[in-house]
Amino acid sequence: MDLITLKNIKMGPLIPNGIITGDWNFVIAILVGIAFGFILEASGFSSSRNIVGTFYGYNFVVLRVFFTAVIVAMVGLLYFGYFGWINLSQIFILPAFWPSMLLGGVIMGFGFLMGGFCPGTSFTAISIGKIDGLVFTAGLYLGIFMFSESFPLFKDFYNSGNLGHVTLTDVTGISASWFAFAFVIIALTAFWITMLIEKKVRKKITEYKF
């Protein structure tokens, strides 16, 4: 009985496997986006002061949402693969151009602390009427434009150090389950420690309401 039910679940990813045709692609994109935007706004990510609280210790909502999402998705993917619901070799793995991506992350870190948003969260800030969200998004546009215009200057750097579409397992030989396990432990530890930090820091902050 169980086996029959399991077999009725189509092997994903559905669109690459032709189970859902490409015509549905954009409908799915909008629906996924709506769910994404809803979760971001409902969690409080439409406020830059909530987001940056993660770095100053007064509100760790970003860390909680982000780490929970990563461990749920990681463990979920492994189970989907184990049950034969998804062919893990077909999913897109971000290529690792490590020097450029490391620099990109550092630049984004600066952007995060100055702007208080990341791209997705700034869109939801616009939805509820935040001018700072709109200005941040305008900045994104300018930043990408400036990057494109000056691209010849760092083209070689941008394309350097390509390790290919590699996973942590490809690089280390350690199985994905161990990485998922490690992430779960790290996340749970972080949830506990940040809860203690938050309690202490909040006593000193009066301007911000929770």
Binding site: G12, G33, F36, G37, S43, S48, M74, M101, M108, F112
Partner: protein, 178 residues
């Protein structure tokens, strides 16, 4: 009276762990359906490509970077991430309506800085984030969240670099926030 009310206002956000579980399930579902995760900066990139191409097609095609994303059979706006980002805006609107958070346009900032300072740094932050997301092959959504969730080395590098840098430079920008 009004200020008093404003100061006592506590937004009713959902539990962050519930938000995280929902977001994780959404990443999982999206990968199950499309074979890829979520994204956000890609839509802004498509907008840059489209406007550059509209203003000067010759220059846009000649640009080493933008030229890669121009195709003769469809507009760069006809792209999965553009539709998804439109959805992000609509989803934010929906949540804003449900939880009564929609207001007339305003600038949120720490009481210790002015609106003008906030907006200048919001613009600068956007510029940095936009440029950084191109070096990083994605932002917090596409690279850090979806990349790490699929065990991609690149995703983990971007995640650690964003948050590591964020924590390393808190002192520099503290006056903007606390």
């Amino acid at each position: 009276m009004k200020t008093q009310q404003k100061n006592n206002y506590r937004p009713n956000y959902i539990n962050p762990y519930l938000g995280g579980v929902l977001l994780g399930l959404l990443v999982l579902l999206t990968v199950y359906i499309t074979g890829r995760g979520l994204g956000a900066s890609g839509a802004v990139k498509s907008t840059v490509v489209t406007t550059a191409n509209a203003i000067s097609p010759t220059l846009a095609k000649a640009n080493d970077y933008l030229g890669k994303f121009i195709s003769s059979d469809h507009s760069p706006m006809y792209n999965w991430l553009v539709f998804e980002s439109l959805g992000i805006f609509l989803g934010g609107l929906l949540s804003g309506i449900i939880f009564h958070r929609i207001r007339k346009p305003w600038v949120e900032h720490s009481p210790k800085i002015t609106s003008k300072t906030r907006l200048i740094f919001a613009l600068l932050g956007g510029i940095f984030f936009g440029a950084g997301s191109q070096f990083g092959r994605g932002c917090t959504s596409g690279a850090a969240l979806s990349g790490s969730s699929t065990f991609a080395l690149g995703g983990v590098i971007v995640m650690l670099a964003i948050f590591g840098t964020g924590y390393a430079i808190t002192w520099l920008f503290r006056k903007l926030w606390i």
